[in-house]
């Protein structure tokens, strides 16, 4: 029963962390794109279009998938603790 509780609440907690981290990561990416456009001023590309294009790239990129580590690292940590303590 305690195990079920740990899994359910752990999953809920990590989901909150996951959502926060992905919002943060997206916000940082957007800011970087805006700064990049500001500095390079590419010919014929509007600011919004430039940011939109960059965000599309981010949505399919590796960085976004790395956020899944939020779930994987605690799982590995718990496994390691169980192995070393018992």
């Amino acid at each position: 029963m305690n195990f079920v509780r740990l899994v359910v609440f752990g999953f809920l907690f990590l989901s909150v962390v996951y959502i926060c981290v992905s919002l943060y990561s997206r916000s940082v990416r957007r800011e970087k794109l805006e700064v990049e456009w500001e500095e390079t001023r590419p010919e014929g590309i509007h600011r919004d279009a430039f940011v939109k294009e960059g965000m599309k790239e981010y949505e399919t990129g590796l960085r976004k998938r790395l956020i899944l580590l939020v779930y994987i690292i605690p799982l590995i940590a718990v496994g390691a603790i169980i192995y070393f303590v018992n």
């Binding site: 509780r5 943060y24 916000s27 603790i81 303590v85 018992n86």
Partner: protein
């Protein structure tokens, strides 16, 4: 107000520090003198300082507790200074799947190891006992032993790698949280506040203009 804020901050910091001191692993150099099992009834006061029944068993209001009686090297100032010998009693309970997250299920095996490590005749066999928790006599609470391994010598001083890693992770997490909050404030809250302020300005300007129009119309009735 500033003093109040400071007091709140200090209180929160103290509670956090005490809690960390309670749950973080510590290591003692000790020699086991005996092991025993004591039937224990908890009170409302000290119940939170004990874990629950063994992971596979059901929890009752009173149960048998495993104890490890030892003589250990006293330590002061977070283990930086070593003192003489002192008695110490550890309890030996499963922490199970919940708090604190040691995931310890092997208290029966640990009790057997402690029994095998009993050393009452010189030269003594010293062991390293990893534990968390406090010994407070007037509350009848005991630190929970997590593992026992032989110590190379009486003077052995283990380096707390686990604690170092956990504290680095905690500090990194806190800094990350701060960065997240700052980003949120800069990109979401501040623009929202700006927009609200902007709208307020518009409304006020509108109002002033309308009042001006009414005033002008009224003025047109005045005799010149």
């Amino acid at each position: 107000m500033r003093n109040f804020r400071r007091a709140v901050r200090i209180t929160v910091f103290l509670i956090l520090a005490l809690w960390l001191h309670y749950v973080m692993p510590q290591r003692d150099i000790a020699r086991v003198t005996s092991t025993e099992v004591v039937r224990t009834d908890f009170s409302a006061l000290n119940r939170i300082f004990f874990a629950q029944a063994d992971t596979g068993a059901t929890d009752n209001p009173s149960r048998d507790l495993r104890f490890i009686n030892t003589e250990r090297k006293a330590t002061y100032l977070f283990g930086l200074i070593r003192g003489g010998n002192q008695t110490m009693v550890y309890r030996n309970e499963d922490t199970g799947w919940i708090y604190p997250p040691y995931f310890k299920f092997d208290s029966a095996d640990l009790q057997a190891e402690a029994g095998a490590a009993i050393s009452t005749a010189e030269p003594y066999d010293w062991v390293v006992i990893t534990h968390y928790g406090w010994r407070i006599r007037w509350l009848s609470i005991y630190p929970n032993a997590v593992s026992i391994r032989p110590a190379p010598s009486e003077e052995f001083r283990p380096i707390p790698w686990g604690n170092i890693i956990i504290y680095i992770a905690l500090i990194a997490g806190a800094l990350f949280l701060r960065a997240m909050w700052r980003q949120f404030r800069e990109r979401t809250l501040d623009p929202l506040a700006d927009r609200a302020e902007d709208r307020m300005d518009h409304v006020q300007a509108d109002f002033a203009e309308r009042r001006g129009r009414v005033r002008r119309w009224l003025d047109s009735w005045k005799s010149k």
